[in-house]
């Protein structure tokens, strides 16, 4: 366990630096690292479209010659074939980045294990699909994939005839082989769609497409690359020659140099070890039980407003009839689906739901203690820091701004901000990770809507919103945060002095009176 935590910490630092760099270059909205999963889907769409075009010209009777003809079409075939190839490479790269990101951010355990395991399967299926794609071409690279693949599978005594004998040169390559290969190359993507559906099935709102500018930017960049640097076509496969001088696609053929030099049993051993290690990640990295306790609804406070039900990113909350006489339903959390993200704590106005110890009601004593300790004045800017943001590294101050640490900006109840403003703080900056990188998916979006757009569990009208600011600052963007705080400081200087209230009683205001059916009807 300690080892995995250390590995995650080790991976987080370079990821944070890369995120910060890409945010600076492309802004968080179009940071491709935040959209790695959606980019895989976009690449898959490009593969389907370009694949359909290539299918029109592919001939199983003369595979290499047909690819040569495609390669000869300077104005279409060549770059479309290249785009097909580069998009498949980009898909693998994006999938690996996506998996790395989820693993490092510890977003794999519990109910998310299904997404993790199906994601591993998806990557495997992608690699398999690429394998059949290269064999289709039947050049020396395709021959290498076919021969080494056959050598691997011949280890299992289930084939009536060793597959390797297909490629010995005894006879002309049968059309049936290329037909089967083409069938697999087309059938496997159908499987990809099915696994993709499983991959996102636990999410309330799936996010499958990157923002339009990023989508078209990626397609444009890959198309330009395909035109400027078209993929070459190696010499035709010759079973009676050892394929050397092969240009290898590292994304799909990374295993070939190893597999060519060791017995296939050893390759299978390695594949099995890697697979077991990957599949075990959700169970190895599961946090301590006290950090993963599922949310609980306190029926006493539930008003049946359904906001937690709508906001939960994992559909872990359902509304059921109450067993008392109140005329509205009550929320119930399914512990098997809850990842203890705490988003519901932020979305419940009467503070009646959330993971034990992290409900809105539990957040208030912490903010009161903070106020008593810091005694914010109108010169103070208080930072409410999401633990995964630039201010979430355990510091008590960033510059001269005192830090109130919260687990996630999304599970922070708006009353926390209200307390700070009404206690006389000159300004409150909520430092969160960028929305597309929210570890709890939608926390930042809901939080911002609650503070500024009147979403249920909203920041009350009585709070001066000009004194509240949300700053997106990823883990590696401390400078961005410091600059934003400075800018905000100069903005609030022009405001009237902040008024500190003595007795702030938000928790008592939020007590829900007992309501009977008769009263509601009346």
């Amino acid at each position: 366990m300690k080892l995995t935590r250390s590995a995650q910490r080790l991976g987080r630092a370079p990821l944070a630096r890369l995120d910060a760099l890409f945010n600076r270059l492309y802004t968080w909205r179009y940071n491709p690292l935040y959209h790695s999963g959606a980019l895989v889907v976009a690449c898959f769409a490009v593969l389907c479209v370009t694949g359909l075009y290539l299918l029109l010209f592919y001939r199983i009777g003369s595979p290499y010659a047909s690819i040569e003809r495609i390669q000869g079409q300077v104005f279409a075939g060549r770059w479309i074939r290249t785009l097909h190839r580069y998009a498949s490479d980009a898909a693998v790269a994006a999938a690996v980045i996506h998996a790395f990101r989820m693993g490092i951010q510890n977003r794999t355990w519990g109910p998310r294990a299904l997404a993790w395991v199906s994601g591993i399967v998806l990557l495997g299926v992608f690699l398999l699909c690429g394998w059949t794609g290269y064999v289709m071409v039947w050049d020396t690279q395709g021959q290498l994939y076919a021969v080494e693949g056959a050598r691997l599978f011949d280890v299992f005594p289930v084939f009536s005839e060793p597959i390797s004998r297909t490629f010995t040169g005894e006879r002309v390559m049968p059309r049936a082989f290329f037909f089967l290969n083409l069938f697999a190359h087309i059938a496997v993507p159908v499987g990809i769609l099915l696994i993709l559906w499983i991959h996102v099935s636990r999410l309330a709102r799936t996010y499958l497409w990157p923002p339009r500018r990023l989508l078209w930017g990626m397609i444009g960049a890959l198309t330009a690359l395909s035109v400027l640097w078209p993929a070459t076509l190696a010499p035709e496969a010759d079973p009676l020659r050892v394929p050397t001088d092969v240009s290898l696609d590292v994304f799909y053929g990374f295993w070939l140099p190893w597999a060519r030099t060791v017995p296939p049993e050893l390759t299978w051993l390695l594949i099995t070890a890697v697979l077991v290690a990957l599949v075990a990640v959700p169970w190895i990295t599961r946090p301590a039980p006290e950090a993963t306790k599922a949310s609980v609804v306190d029926p006493k406070f539930c008003t049946g407003c359904e906001q937690c039900y709508h906001d939960c990113p994992y559909e872990a909350i359902s509304m059921v009839p109450r067993d008392d006489d109140r005329p509205y339903p009550v929320g119930v959390v399914d512990p098997a689906k809850c990842v203890s993200c705490g988003i519901c704590a932020g979305s419940c106005a009467p503070m009646g739901v959330g993971p034990p110890g992290r409900t809105g009601r539990d957040q208030l004593p912490a903010v009161k203690q903070f106020i008593a300790r810091v005694r914010p004045t109108e010169d103070h800017i208080v930072l409410v820091a999401c633990s995964r943001s630039a201010a979430g590294w355990g510091a008590e101050r960033v510059g001269d701004a005192p830090v109130l640490a919260v687990d996630c900006a999304g599970d922070m109840h708006s009353s926390v901000v209200e307390y700070l403003v009404r206690a006389g703080a000159g300004g409150v900056v909520v430092a969160s990770c960028p929305p597309r990188d929210c570890w709890n998916r939608e926390g930042v979006a809901w939080m911002e809507a609650r503070l500024f757009e009147g979403r249920e569990a909203e920041l009350k009208e009585r709070v001066d919103r000009t004194r509240v600011r949300v700053v997106y600052a990823a883990e590696g963007e401390r400078t961005v945060l410091a600059e934003a705080v400075d800018r905000f400081r100069s903005e609030i200087r022009g405001l009237d002095g902040a008024v500190a209230e003595e007795a702030i009683q938000i928790d008592t205001i939020c007590e829900v009176p007992e309501v009977s059916v008769a009263e509601v009807d009346a």
Binding site: R24, P157, E170, A221, T244, S247, D249
Partner: protein
């Protein structure tokens, strides 16, 4: 976004794209390697049976419709493959018929690397039939001759279409 930042954004995107293209066709040029003598064929295995005549007493013990005077028990023979190159023994393998019950065809697939150049190759493939068993032993498959192979070239020895002899196949390119 400033012009410098836009330029940097473009440069990073271009570098990423070029990285994809470079890794997509990574050259793995190797020095010309050895030539290969490849033996590859398929043959039906010979069945080796030991038969004996049942005694009248034994025949009495079985139902009338199952009385066969001769009872045979047997198996499919293993084969011995010998490959000599330039008079030197390169491989001596015992090859069993395929399948879990070893009753499927015999598949031979052997790649023997040799130095490029001219070689005297001698191949012999014989069924291993015990001397005390009466069985119709098929003639051994044999081939002896010279092969001239270039670097990375594979000289294939396989059976003729009727399966009774070995022949060479070379690359036409």
């Amino acid at each position: 976004m400033g012009a410098v930042r836009q330029l940097a954004a473009f440069a990073v995107a271009a570098a990423l794209c070029l990285g994809i293209a470079a890794l997509s066709q990574w050259p793995t040029r190797t020095e010309p390697g050895p030539a290969v003598v490849r033996l590859s064929w398929r043959t039906e295995p010979v069945r080796v049976e030991a038969c004996r005549t049942l005694t009248p007493e034994e025949l009495e013990g079985v139902p009338a419709h199952m009385r066969r005077t001769e009872e045979c028990a047997g198996d499919f023979a293993d084969y011995e493959l010998r490959l000599r190159v330039d008079g030197e023994g390169v491989r001596v393998d015992t090859i069993s018929p395929s399948g879990l019950r070893a009753d499927r065809p015999v598949y031979v697939l052997v790649d023997a690397p040799v130095e490029p150049g001219r070689h005297e190759v001698d191949v012999r493939f014989t069924a291993l039939v015990p001397a005390d068993v009466e069985a119709e032993t098929p003639p051994a498959l044999e081939w002896r001759g010279q092969m001239t192979l270039g670097a990375d070239e594979i000289g294939l020895l396989t059976t003729t279409p009727d399966g009774t002899a070995l022949r060479t196949v070379r690359s036409q390119r």
